[in-house]
């Protein structure tokens, strides 16, 4: 194999200096030290789900072994300790994103968090709710705005909300290169707009949305903003108050945490007014046979027995990330993203999706190999122990706009080395020669 020369030079981005630390980090991840197809695993699918460090697995296990007890119920010692740790985890995660603890609601994942907001609007819009306010009442004439690059998780719940309430769903288009048409934003976001939901970082393109500008335009028309922060919170410092969004969502499993836990951030004043989504035990104060009074947020939105060990493990993941430092993780990943992008554009027959090299991008890159289906690319890479994502990455409308049905995505995290990035680049360069017999 001839090597692909990344145009991002090591002297500009000090790969060597980071290497020792990345190696130390890698020691914490048992999943990295396995063989796939007779090769050491090269895990480049962290945007789908991240590997877990020992510290997170240990925290979850320790809680399950020694602290198991129902939270917010019962008076025994274990129940009190469990409750304390559960609420402590909430405070840890809240501090991580610059929020107050009562602004953080546990959900199963980001998808559920978006649905929680959508159903809050929905519930405020039907029947004669006494506790719902006009802030969340939607009907014909109102508009919900998303963008064309959204993950299905940030599209379908809004399609459904529009269908249930009679509101219209509109979207901010992207160019055929996937860039948000900000020039059209003033036409799309207007006096009828009630909700503006958009991704902080695209899970396909790695591009970063102009959050401040979108928030400014939404505020100017009194619309509620919902930020899909699934690909930002795990990878760079995010301060929800500084961003000024009303709601933000992310998933634990993409940030070294376990599956089954996600987060909804909601601005305190809005959470206070938002009707509940799921109802039942744990979210009420007084119940009669006819009706119930609900707890204040965040517990109003946490019906039933909660994801306790997962929340505690997520807090351990946050501790881990903070210790490494989100600034440094963000820089490291920006460098890896640039290395990927620069390498991919240098390979014959490969089309890089999203920002050109040198333009801001997260630590991931999706691409199309001319004449070779993404599944064949994925299979070819798997044969070398390289795990990437293939398909539409839950963003069919975006792929359609880009003129594709599927693409291949390599995504990095704090444990990814520059050598691993180079390895995938070298392997991608071998794909067309293998399938099409073209010269390298």
């Amino acid at each position: 194999m001839t090597s692909v020369t990344p145009t991002v030079q090591p002297e500009v981005h000090p790969v060597g200096a980071h290497r020792a630390e990345v190696d130390r980090i890698r020691d914490d991840f048992p999943g990295l030290h396995q063989q796939v197809a007779g090769h050491p695993l090269v895990y480049l699918d962290s945007a789908a789900t991240a590997l877990k460090p020992r510290q997170v697995l240990d925290a979850e296990r320790r809680f399950a072994e020694l602290r198991t007890a129902a939270v917010h119920r019962g008076a025994h010692t274990l129940a009190a300790t469990a409750t304390e740790e559960f609420e402590g985890a909430r405070a840890t995660v809240a501090a991580f994103i610059g929020a107050a603890p009562d602004e953080v609601v546990w959900t199963s994942n980001a998808t559920e968090a978006i649905n929680l907001v959508a159903y809050g609007f929905s519930n405020a819009s039907t029947g004669d709710r006494l506790d719902g306010t006009d802030a969340f009442r939607l009907g014909p004439g109102d508009e919900i705005v998303v963008t064309e690059l959204e993950h299905h998780a940030n599209l379908i719940p809004w399609q459904e909300l529009a269908r249930r309430t009679g509101a219209a769903l509109r979207h901010l288009p992207v160019t055929e290169d996937g860039e948000l048409r900000m020039d059209l934003a003033p036409d799309v976001i207007g006096s009828r707009t009630r909700i503006l939901a958009f991704s902080h970082i695209s899970n396909v393109l790695g591009s970063v949305a102009p959050v401040a500008e979108l928030v400014r335009q939404a505020r100017a028309v009194g619309a509620v903003t919902v930020l899909d922060a699934c690909q930002s919170v795990p990878h760079r410092p995010v301060d929800v108050h500084a961003l000024g969004v009303d709601f933000a969502v992310f998933s634990g499993h993409k940030m070294l945490g376990p599956t089954g836990i996600g987060v909804l951030y909601g601005r305190r004043e809005l959470l206070r007014e938002l009707p509940p989504f799921l109802t039942g035990g744990s979210m009420i104060s007084t119940v009669t046979m006819e009706r119930a009074e609900y707890l204040p947020p965040p517990h109003r939105f946490e019906a039933g027995t909660q994801k306790v060990s997962q929340a505690i493990a997520l807090a351990a993941a946050v501790d881990y990330l903070r210790e490494v430092g989100m600034d440094r993780i963000g820089q490291w990943q920006g460098m890896l993203g640039q290395r990927l992008a620069a390498g991919l554009v240098g390979i014959r027959g490969v089309r890089l999706l999203g920002p050109a090299p040198g333009t801001e991008r997260a630590g991931l890159a999706s691409f199309e190999v001319d004449g070779v289906h993404a599944h064949d690319v994925g299979q070819f890479l798997d044969d070398r122990g390289i795990a990437v994502r293939v398909g539409h990455h839950c963003a069919q409308p975006l792929h359609r706009r880009l003129g594709l049905t599927a693409s291949t995505r390599a995504s990095t995290y704090l444990y990814t080395t520059a050598e691993e990035v180079d390895l995938v680049l070298e392997s991608v360069a071998d794909v067309r020669p293998f399938f099409l017999g073209t010269p390298r």
Binding site: A37, V372, A374, H375, D382, D383
Partner: protein
């Protein structure tokens, strides 16, 4: 999977058929057609059968679709297989192909039944890819069912 196994999955014959596809392009004269979608990846294929009016056998198979090397090669190999086969014979052969694909590599394909399509046998060891290989065969089976149904076949 080792490099040798990658070669077992993508045999040269498969790569050739994925590049030089036989039977690609639907015909205005087709008798029945069926479109199938692989829900895992969104790939799709439409298979069209043309009946020989003299013998009642399958005169030709044409197809159109979007898919990986495995599914396009599979459609191309199937197009080579059908010529002048009676419908029930073709149904039997599709059944054998399915058995091979579902065998996880334990069932040897019968070359008398599948001809060059035996080259797809390596796919059986990759459960995630079996659907890719099966897609055109499932569409063909569905089209055959329409032919057999006394009610009006789906107009082409």
């Amino acid at each position: 999977m080792t490099a040798a196994e990658l070669g077992a999955l993508y045999q040269q014959l498969i790569l050739d058929h994925a590049r030089e596809r036989h039977g690609e392009g639907l015909q205005p004269t087709g008798s029945v057609q069926s479109r199938q979608v692989n829900p895992l990846c969104g790939d799709e294929v439409t298979v069209q059968l043309t009946v020989d009016p003299a013998t009642g056998n399958i005169a030709s198979l044409h197809w159109e679709g979007r898919g990986c090397a495995i599914s396009t090669a599979s459609a191309s190999l199937l197009a080579d297989l059908v010529h002048e086969l009676p419908a029930d014979e073709l149904t039997t052969r599709i059944g054998h192909f399915r058995d091979v694909m579902r065998s996880r590599g334990t069932l040897e394909p019968d070359e008398d039944l599948l001809a060059d399509a035996v080259a797809l046998q390596g796919v059986a060891r990759y459960v995630a890819r079996v659907k890719c290989a099966m897609l055109p065969w499932v569409a063909c089976e569905d089209a055959l069912r329409m032919l057999a149904a006394p009610s009006a076949p789906e107009p082409v």
